[in-house]
């Protein structure tokens, strides 16, 4: 029995070999194709791909008009994935997201319930302005994120793989919004902060999108290939020393009561190590380096720490605190 398991494992590993060997070219094509459509925002694109490789979800905090929708729809086109968009509003109901049973009449005139899938049944879902949806609707979406399945009228429907949600929220307009609870924020693998492009990038954006011809997007990889890339990501090895280093960074967030009211959870340690693996994989390295952990610490941890009142009053942001932790740990490895 043990022998069979070992053989099966070897076979499954062997199936991944072609994708693993071609992975540097695959990533190069993905980034090149996205770059044809999106100007700048390289860090956001990289972090989105990392989150997708880790089977996680991303919360993007940015002002409107910075190309979030275009980025995510471009990624879905490149990877031949189903894309849907949900514009969250206070009157959006859970059924508007998950779908609902509708009565359908067949040719013989008999009526029966048929499940009509909602927009969540896609590979890539953009939940625009998630903080405008009511808590009930938010939790329906977050349940789909966590479980990768939807339950409607006692029937559970598995969501297609890969499943990725990019939720956005506007950092300025807070009126009429329902802030995401910390427990739900923890379910997002990363929180990305987007800033305005620099003037050169904006010049290029204007050149591209104010013309008659918009850049076409080519389909580059199959969905199955991306699933295999996700499987390979988890296989990237990491040394015990670096695992301890990542855990130590997360632990430090729990040891600063003067600035942090509640530190990051063990889920953050898992997320940090996973993201570091994906970052190493994107760089074409077969092992995790300290730089991978350092570069992933900010997007992974910034939404998982709750600042104390004193810190908030003194304009200390979670980014500053995490950066301070990283600076203090620089000499340890």
């Amino acid at each position: 029995m043990q022998q069979i398991q070992e053989i099966q494992l070897e076979n499954s590993e062997l199936n991944l070999r072609p994708t693993y060997e071609k992975s540097p070219q695959i990533f190069e094509v993905i980034f090149r194709e996205i770059g044809n459509s999106i100007v700048g925002q390289k860090e956001m694109i990289r972090q989105i791909i990392i989150a997708m490789l880790c089977e996680g979800h991303v919360l993007v905090e940015s002002n409107p008009g910075l190309g979030k929708t275009l980025t995510i729809s471009t990624i879905s086109q490149i990877m031949s994935m189903r894309f849907s968009r949900i514009q969250c509003t206070p009157d959006l109901m859970p059924a508007d997201i998950t779908g609902t049973d509708i009565i359908e009449e067949d040719e013989r005139g008999s009526k029966h319930f048929k499940f009509k899938q909602g927009p969540v049944f896609a590979n890539i879902v953009l939940a625009d302005e998630i903080n405008r949806a009511s808590p009930k609707t938010q939790s329906a979406l977050l349940e789909a994120m966590q479980e990768k399945q939807v339950t409607v009228a006692n029937t559970t429907y598995a969501l297609d793989k890969p499943f990725f949600i990019l939720a956005t929220q506007n950092p300025i307009e807070m009126e009429g919004t329902y802030a995401l609870p910390e427990a739900q924020l923890d379910r997002f693998l990363m929180k990305i902060r987007l800033d305005y492009p620099d003037p050169d990038e904006e010049f290029e954006i204007v050149n591209r999108y104010a013309e008659a011809f918009r850049p076409a997007v080519r389909r580059c990889i199959e969905k199955q290939t991306f699933i295999e890339l996700q499987q390979i990501t988890r296989r990237i090895p990491i040394s015990n020393q670096l695992k301890k280093y990542a855990i130590d960074i997360v632990n430090q967030t729990r040891k600063m009561p003067d600035m942090i009211e509640a530190g990051a959870s063990p889920r953050a340690s898992i997320a940090l190590i996973l993201c570091a693996k994906a970052n190493a994989f994107l760089d074409g390295r077969g092992y995790v380096d300290k730089r991978d952990i350092d570069s992933m610490a900010l997007p992974v941890l910034r939404h998982r720490v709750i600042l104390s009142f004193d810190a908030a009053r003194n304009n200390i942001t979670s980014d500053k605190i995490i950066q301070k932790i990283l600076d203090n740990r620089k000499t340890t490895i």
């Binding site: 590993e13 062997l14 991944l16 070999r17 693993y20 390979i232 296989r235 990237i236 090895p237 990491i238 040394s239 015990n240 020393q241 670096l242 077969g286 092992y287 995790v288 380096d289 300290k290």
Partner: protein, 288 residues
């Protein structure tokens, strides 16, 4: 799987070189301590141990000079062992860690080697490739490069130098004119001198309050008047005041001074006009 046997092979090879280094370092420490003992005649310390004196006089195998040398060698050996033990306790021992050594010697290996080593049992498509890469790089290493040749040579030279110095001192009978007994003798002399000086200074000290053994009291209406002056009022009866008074006493000690009156008491019959004068006198005294 691939990397571990190769590391074991390297470890075996390097362990011997590190043992040689350790031997020379320890031997160097021993000879250095032995040299110090010879130079400063530290064998005298051994004679403070009960029984050593008797042993020295009763044994017939060695003459006193060689017996003392043996004592110093034994002392150096004990000290060397103690130092080694302290180094071991505080983790400052020159511990041989192959992975650390390889990572330090070949920085391009850093992280990759430890990752391969930690994941050598977790074989999958990625770790297999990593292990193969690390193995081929490890195999290409000339392990002789990381043998601590310089350290071994340096320790050997130090050992030779100190050994030469020890041999010279033994055969020439050379040592400094310093020994523990001399130092202790000097120290005792110095202490004695210091005590004597302190005693002399003490006897010279002026304690005016007790010197004259005269106690002045004021009795009014048959009751003793409180003469103590509140310390917050001024200096009170200080040595300075009394030293001034002493001057006057000294002046008058040689001959009779008609102006000076020894008066231990003031009777109640003192004329009334004297009272404010006395009060004023004490007030002035206290305000000085």
């Amino acid at each position: 799987m691939l990397v571990v046997p190769l590391l074991e092979k390297y470890k075996k090879y390097l362990t011997w070189s590190y043992r040689t280094l350790g031997f020379f370092q320890t031997a160097g420490k021993f000879v250095f301590l032995f040299l110090l003992m010879i130079l400063f005649n530290l064998y005298e310390l051994a004679y403070y141990v009960p029984g050593v004196d008797e042993l020295s006089s009763s044994q017939t195998y060695l003459n006193t000079y060689w017996f003392n040398l043996c004592l110093m060698a034994a002392g150096a050996l004990v000290l060397t062992l103690l130092i080694s033990l302290i180094y071991r306790l505080f983790g400052r021992r020159n511990r041989f860690n192959l992975i650390n050594l390889l990572e330090t010697s070949f920085p391009e290996f850093r992280t990759r080697l430890s990752t391969a080593y930690d994941n050598s049992q977790n074989i999958n498509i990625v770790t297999k490739k990593l292990l193969e890469e690390v193995h081929s790089q490890l195999a290409a290493i000339k392990i002789r490069k990381i043998v601590p040749k310089n350290q071994i040579f340096r320790s050997f030279v130090v050992f030779l130098l100190f050994s030469g110095a020890v041999t010279f001192c033994i055969y020439e009978g050379f040592s400094f004119n310093i020994s523990p007994n001399k130092l202790i003798g000097n120290l005792q002399d110095n202490l004695h001198n210091m005590n004597a000086r302190a005693a002399y200074d003490e006897s010279e000290d002026v304690v005016p309050d007790s010197r004259y053994r005269i106690e002045a009291t004021i009795i009014k209406n048959g009751e003793q008047v409180e003469m103590e002056i509140n310390p917050t009022m001024g200096l009170g009866f200080t040595s300075q005041i009394d030293a001034d008074t002493e001057q006057r006493f000294n002046e008058s000690s040689g001959r009779y001074n008609g102006n000076f009156k020894y008066s231990q008491t003031y009777s109640e019959n003192l004329p009334e006009e004297y009272e404010p004068l006395i009060k004023q006198y004490f007030e002035e005294l206290s305000s000085e």
